[in-house]
Structures are given as C-alpha cells and as structure tokens.
Symmetry: C2
Subunit: 143 residues, 2 copies
C-alpha cells in the first residue's frame, strides 16, 4: 500500500523538519505520480500547484525524502536521476530502453552470491543494485 501525502508529511515533521507549503507541494506530486520522475519533470508538475517554487527547493526536498528513505532514487546512465515513491522495502527495476518506463519487482535472491563475494573480496557489502533492461510490451514492435 502506498503511503499517503499526510503520512509522509507527518514523518517529516517528526524528524524535525519544517512543513512548508513547498514541501507539501513536492510530496503531493510524488505521491500522485505513478512514474519515476526526474527533478526537472517534477519541478514542472509542482509549478502547476505552486508557481513560485524554485528548482533548487525541489532538489533539496527530493534529497531529503530520499535520505529519510521515503522515496527511491534511480540513476539512469549519466543523464539524470529519477525519483519515485518508495514501495515498502527492498525492490528493483526493469527499465525499457525505448520509452523509459520503469517496472518494479521485489525478489532477487542474491544473498548467496553476496556472501560468497564478500568472502572472496573482503568487501563489507552494504547493498546492491539490480536492474534489468529491455523493451516493454508496447515498444517491442517498432524499429
């Protein structure tokens, strides 16, 4: 179940952050978007409800929400980051290289591999990034 804007706002203030109109506006957009959005795209949408907001504030708010684990960030090849509401817990992505749509999935079964790598390399492994790329149903016909 996706968290509501109210829930996120209240978590924010519990953590000692102020609840400004700008932050509410950013949270609203994130909560009401199914897609992964880049800061610039989010900024456009937020402006509809709050025309005076600055792009900087959007960046800052997204970073903050990300640090609190409330939204999730995906890096897409050098271009820009995208953010989306964090589904509860650990998950991964399936990205369409044609249209950029992102599907989520949750199970990955990497513990065994992780443990072996940890032993072999001496790394203390703290996380992983798993992402499949391909073409979504809609983009399979075309050139």
């Amino acid at each position: 179940m996706r968290p509501s804007a109210k829930k996120i706002a209240s978590l924010l203030s519990q953590k000692g952050h102020k609840l400004t109109a700008q932050r509410r506006a950013v949270i609203d957009v994130v909560v009401n978007s199914r897609e992964h959005l880049a800061p610039a795209a989010l900024y456009e949408r937020v402006r509809r409800a709050h025309p005076a907001i600055g792009l900087v504030t959007v960046y800052r708010t997204l970073e903050m929400l990300h640090e609190l684990g409330l939204i999730c960030r995906v890096h897409r090849g050098g271009k820009s980051r995208t953010y989306t509401l964090a589904p509860s817990g650990h998950h991964h992505h399936l990205v369409c290289t044609e249209c950029g749509i992102v599907a989520d999935f949750t199970d990955c079964d990497l513990e065994v591999l992780q443990q072996r790598l940890s032993q072999e390399t001496g790394f203390k492994i703290e996380g992983h990034l798993l992402q499949f790329v391909g073409h979504c149903r809609n983009c399979q016909g075309g050139t």
Copy 2:
C-alpha cells in the same frame, strides 16, 4: 587474457577508423590501467605521454571504444562514468562507496529470475545491471 594495445588498435582500423597518435595514447593508458577510470582521470594520464591531447578527444575515443565493445563503461551514481578494458564477456561490479575502487565478478545466475520477470511483465529483457556496493577492505576501519 587481457587484449593488447596492438590488438585493439588493429580492430579499430579494421572497422574503418583512423589510427591517430591520440587514439594510441588513450588505448595505451586503458590497457595499462587495472582500475576503472573516469574520462578526466584518464585524460590526466594520457597527457603524460601526449601533452597536447584534448579532453574532448579522450571522450570521443572512449565512446568509440565502448561502442565497439572493447572497453566497458560503468555509471556511478550521477557523478561520472568510468571506463575499463573489457574483460572477456559478461561481468559485474562491486563498488566501494568510500574510495570508489571497483572489483569485477562474472557469475550472477539470474536466468531464472529473468525468465519469470519476462513472463510476468511482458518485457523482452535484453540485459541486466548488477552491482554490489559496500566498503572495501581498506575502507572498513575509518569514519
């Protein structure tokens, strides 16, 4: 076995590209570096052998080698790309978030997962990105 500079150079000209001093210099650095290097870092090293080279040329050469599949590119969280000589075939990375060092590994066993996802989502999956992050042996003590 890692390909030699000669081998790469000859592949380049086979593909109809000119063999310039600048390209040779970039190839030499890539072949002689064990690490994954960002274009700027590569540029610094190439300048030792070829002081007049431009950063643009380094970018262009890396892009070209990458398109030919001769070197491999890693995206590291929004910052910059890094390049390294392509080990033969499929492989993945283990990145230290402290010092940025990258270790490679080759086996990932994702076929089963991939097939299931493909069925569930309708995606035609063409590849995947698997990367572990953590702290390497040297960076585990510090703050």
